[in-house]
Amino acid sequence: MKLDETELRNALRRKPAPPELADRIMMQIEDGERMRSRFSPRMLAAAALVFLTLGIGTVHEVRSELERRRGEEARQQLLLALSITAEKASLARRLIGSD
């Protein structure tokens, strides 16, 4: 395809920017600055530390709770086992006594 001079000139002619473009660009720049000023690196680091501490704390708490449940279950089983043992030993004594 070949462009003649008039077409080329038309294509390269300066066109005025849409009226709202400058406002949009300025708004985006302001938003970026506002975000940067709201979340300074220190604040981000502090937030990360808080989240990390909360995360570790939660994991520790969940593990402790699981351990407590396992321990309590084991304790109940131990007491039941000893109680059955005692009951059967008692049965033996009773039978021996009744002979």
Partner: protein, 193 residues
């Protein structure tokens, strides 16, 4: 000279290690023999109205003792008693009718209790309540294991406790926590059957 010294030192350390291992193996030959019984009676579960299956290995026992109250005297004594144990295994079945289990179920377990186990109680009653108590007498004061087989018309219970059970500690539980005196010392000395 340094090389010779190093070689000698290495040999010395190795021989000490070897000796320690050898002593370790020979010191506990019976403990090694004292294996967990095969008390798998799962085929009775479908007929049982109530089943209790408890398996407490060493680590779970340690965990359980941590959760026993240090305040209550009976729980403190149980904690002391359990400290030397390496396992507690209980299988108990309750049935709604008589003869739900066969004699061979019981015999299969009794057959595993040869030496070093020693039967200290054998009760065969007219009401068909049969109880056997076996112990592994490790020393005069310490029992290395205990097995109770209680075969009643509508109930079959097998208990195996492995590990060191000092007889005086069993006696100290007398009447506490619903654990009656087992009279192992008396029974052993009288050879009651």
């Amino acid at each position: 000279l340094t090389f010779i010294k190093e070689t000698l030192m290495r040999r010395y350390v190795l021989s000490i290690l070897f000796f320690s291992l050898a002593v370790g193996f020979t010191a506990s030959p019976l403990a090694a023999q004292l294996r967990k019984l095969d008390i798998n009676l799962s085929h009775l579960e479908s007929q049982a109205s109530e089943t209790v299956e408890i398996t407490l290995e060493k680590e779970v026992l340690r965990l359980a003792t941590r959760f026993l109250s240090g305040q209550a005297a009976d729980e403190r004594q149980i904690r002391d008693l359990v400290q030397g144990l390496t396992g507690i295994y209980v299988r108990s079945f309750e049935f709604k009718r008589n003869n739900a289990y066969s004699a061979s179920d019981v015999e299969r377990i009794r057959a595993q209790l040869g030496r070093p186990w020693e039967r200290i109680v054998k009760v065969r009653s007219s009401t068909s309540d049969n109880v056997d108590i076996f112990i592994y007498p490790r020393t005069d004061d310490i029992v290395g294991g205990l097995v109770i087989i209680a075969a009643e018309p509508r109930e079959l219970t097998v208990v195996q406790i492995l590990g060191d059970i000092p007889l005086d500690r069993i006696s100290s539980l007398d009447g506490q926590f619903g654990i009656p005196r087992m009279g192992l010392e008396q029974t052993r000395s009288k050879g009651k059957k």
